[in-house]
């Protein structure tokens, strides 16, 4: 016969053996996700004791006010998970895929990065304004669903790809300092070593290969796509959402759109040197060279194509006066042409985006619509006209333009904006 205590010990052992150590792994992963998510939104350590009580008693209203300010000032984090088990991610996390299947990184909102086998990335930043990822080595495929607010940046060595919404693959070999970017959808701006400050804008179908060590690059356009002209700054309420970013109206044929190395000021020929900078992707350098060469001379003797390139360079370098002069010259010297009509549209964008001049912008969009009411940019011009009028405070005109837009393009890319102008409460 055993005594009570021994029976109890045996009972405990029996219970332990059949109870096990806890719930299955899937539940544990959920626990971990919940914990990391909880700590991620935990703003600061709590104070304890009488100080906390005193502070709470003294400043409930103040706390509310401060809370509002903090909410406005501090960007919210974008939650993301890593792997098929959806392990919670966090800023600063290094992720490396050793397995051949690669590793998905899924963000709230539907965006995702699929990192290939033997690829390492670091999640530098992940908030509603900016998501920054460092591609340390290897290759990833990005599928970014834009929301008009979050800017996505993938950094690789001295290079950086910036997007608002797109699908592309990017590879980086740190040993050879070789970057590869291939765009499937949307637009990607690649900046960095040799590509200069304003970088290279890649549209769907374009592929970039850049050598960070040699300072050379090549862009291969596999399909007749145009260079993107949309600003990659986060959209303002009146600017177009990223999904509405449209290609440059003048489609370029399939071609190598850029190859070579940075031009040297002393080695480039004096006349047309700005074009060498342009081709190399150094738009600021191109404008500077054009000004040194003499803008009046270039405007007077260049053909429509070169003037268009100069306007492009100035726009990418955000030099509004030079862009305006080049575009106005096209309209003056080549009236009635496709280039001239399109220049009116682009002048509308330059006024709005570079000069913040809504009135001038609306006027130019109207000019385009009057000259080419059924042209390839008519929908975009009508949509942007709505935004320009609203931004300029001309609400009645904006509503009228929005009505016209919706009657012609009820499911158009600006339909959301147009409806928002007509019924602001629906926004």
């Amino acid at each position: 016969m055993l005594n009570e205590s021994k029976i109890m010990d045996n009972l405990g052992r029996e219970i332990r053996e059949h109870l096990g150590d806890g719930p299955p792994d899937a539940r544990r992963m959920a626990q971990k996700r919940a914990l990391v998510a909880r700590v991620a939104v935990w703003e600061s350590p709590r104070k304890s004791g009488w100080k906390m009580t005193l502070a709470a008693a003294a400043g409930v209203a103040l706390v509310i006010a401060v809370g509002l300010v903090v909410t406005l000032r501090e960007p919210d984090l974008v939650p993301f998970s890593v792997g098929k088990m959806q392990t919670p991610g966090y800023q600063g996390m290094w992720v490396q895929a050793f397995h051949d299947d690669g590793l998905p990184i899924e963000f709230e909102g539907g965006s995702r990065l699929d990192i290939r086998a033997h690829t390492a990335v670091r999640m530098i930043e992940s908030d509603r304004k900016n998501v920054r990822v460092e591609l340390s080595d290897g290759e990833l495929a990005a599928s970014i669903k834009g929301n008009g607010r979050t800017r996505w940046m993938i950094e690789a060595g001295p290079f950086r790809a910036t997007v608002l919404g797109t699908a592309f693959t990017m590879s980086w070999d740190p040993k050879g300092s070789m970057l590869g970017v291939s765009v499937a959808k949307g637009v990607v701006l690649v900046q960095g070593a040799g590509l200069k400050e304003h970088g290279i804008r890649l549209a769907a179908g374009e592929r970039l290969k850049a050598d960070g060590r040699q300072g050379t690059f090549a862009v291969d356009s596999g399909m007749p796509q145009a260079r993107e002209v949309a600003s990659l700054q986060p959209a303002s309420p009146t600017s177009i959402p990223e999904t509405e970013a449209t290609a440059e109206p003048l489609a370029a044929p399939a071609r190598i759109v850029g190859i070579g190395s940075r031009p040297k000021a002393e080695s480039a020929p004096e006349r047309g040197r700005w074009k060498a900078f342009y081709e190399w992707g150094d738009y600021e350098g191109a404008v500077k060279a054009a000004l040194e060469e003499g803008l009046d001379g270039i405007l007077g003797r260049s053909g429509a194509e070169d003037l268009w390139l100069l306007a492009d360079a100035a726009r990418y370098a955000r030099k509004a006066p030079v862009a305006e002069q080049a575009l106005r010259t096209i309209r003056d010297r080549f009236p009635g042409t496709e280039r001239s009509r399109t220049a009116a549209f682009v002048l509308g964008r330059v006024s709005l985006e570079l000069k913040n001049d809504a009135a001038s912008s609306a006027s130019w969009f109207r000019t385009y619509l009057s000259e080419d009411p059924h042209g390839p940019l008519a929908e975009e011009a009508q949509g942007r006209l709505v935004g320009a009028l609203e931004k300029g405070g001309r609400i009645d005109e904006a509503r009228q333009a929005a009505g016209e837009y919706l009657s012609r393009y009820p499911n158009g890319v600006f339909s959301g904006i147009a409806r928002g102008v007509i019924k602001p409460q629906d926004r």
Binding site: M8, L19, D21
Partner: protein, 211 residues
């Protein structure tokens, strides 16, 4: 440097991500990270102590439907009170203590809720299959524990189910050795008496007595 790596679990197609940081973070680094509310530290904390906290809660409350909530609360309590930890080297013992306290509070809260009829009464075991005998016994075991004082419940579960020594129970509960001994003895006696009134437990214990 923190690295997340992929590995495949034996016999499972599902991939798992393991944070190698759990192996490289020292206790001090972890405590410092938790004090800053660094999510990386939270992930490391879970990687390192998730199994222990789960096991403790599981063995103190059984296969409870609120298990995950209690584990989460334990970790929240760990992070929120990390500033009270004086010696980072004793992190593991301290985590055990916080977890035990969390469970004790949960048991107390359940007692109040039951008194206020916010929780249903325990369901009597009646028609379980013989093959599920151990499950039924475990259920009855924890049902009897829940009727006891939280202090008795915790010390008994730690001692009998978790297999802690009296010294370990004392450390986990913050008792002196003498208090731990006294409470374990009292809890055993009380449990034995109550278990005799439960037909399932009484029968199981009778067989343990004769084997």
């Amino acid at each position: 440097m923190l690295f997340m790596v992929m590995k495949h679990r034996a016999g499972s197609k599902e991939a798992e991500v393991v944070d190698l940081a759990a192996m490289s973070f020292g206790d001090e680094e972890l405590v410092s990270g938790l004090s800053r509310r660094d999510p990386r530290a939270a992930a490391v904390l879970y990687d390192r102590f998730g199994a222990k906290v789960n096991r403790l809660v599981w063995r103190l409350l059984g296969a409870d439907q609120e298990h995950d909530d209690v584990v989460h609360q334990a970790f929240v309590n760990i992070v929120s009170s990390i500033g009270t930890l004086r010696n980072p080297a004793s992190l593991e013992d301290w985590i055990t203590g916080v977890t035990v306290n969390t469970v004790r509070r949960e048991i107390r809260s359940r007692t109040y809720r039951r008194l206020l009829r916010l929780l249903p009464e325990s369901v009597e075991a009646s028609s379980e299959e013989p093959s599920q005998e151990h499950q039924v016994t475990a259920r009855r075991f924890f049902a009897v524990l829940e009727e006891m004082k939280p202090e008795h419940h915790v010390v008994l579960a730690l001692h009998l189910v978790e297999g802690n020594t009296v010294q370990e129970v004392a450390a986990a509960c913050g008792y002196s050795l003498a208090t731990a001994k006294r409470r374990i003895a009292a809890a055993k006696k009380l449990f034995f008496r109550r278990a005799q009134r439960d037909s399932v437990l009484a029968s199981f214990m009778e067989r343990l007595e004769t084997c």
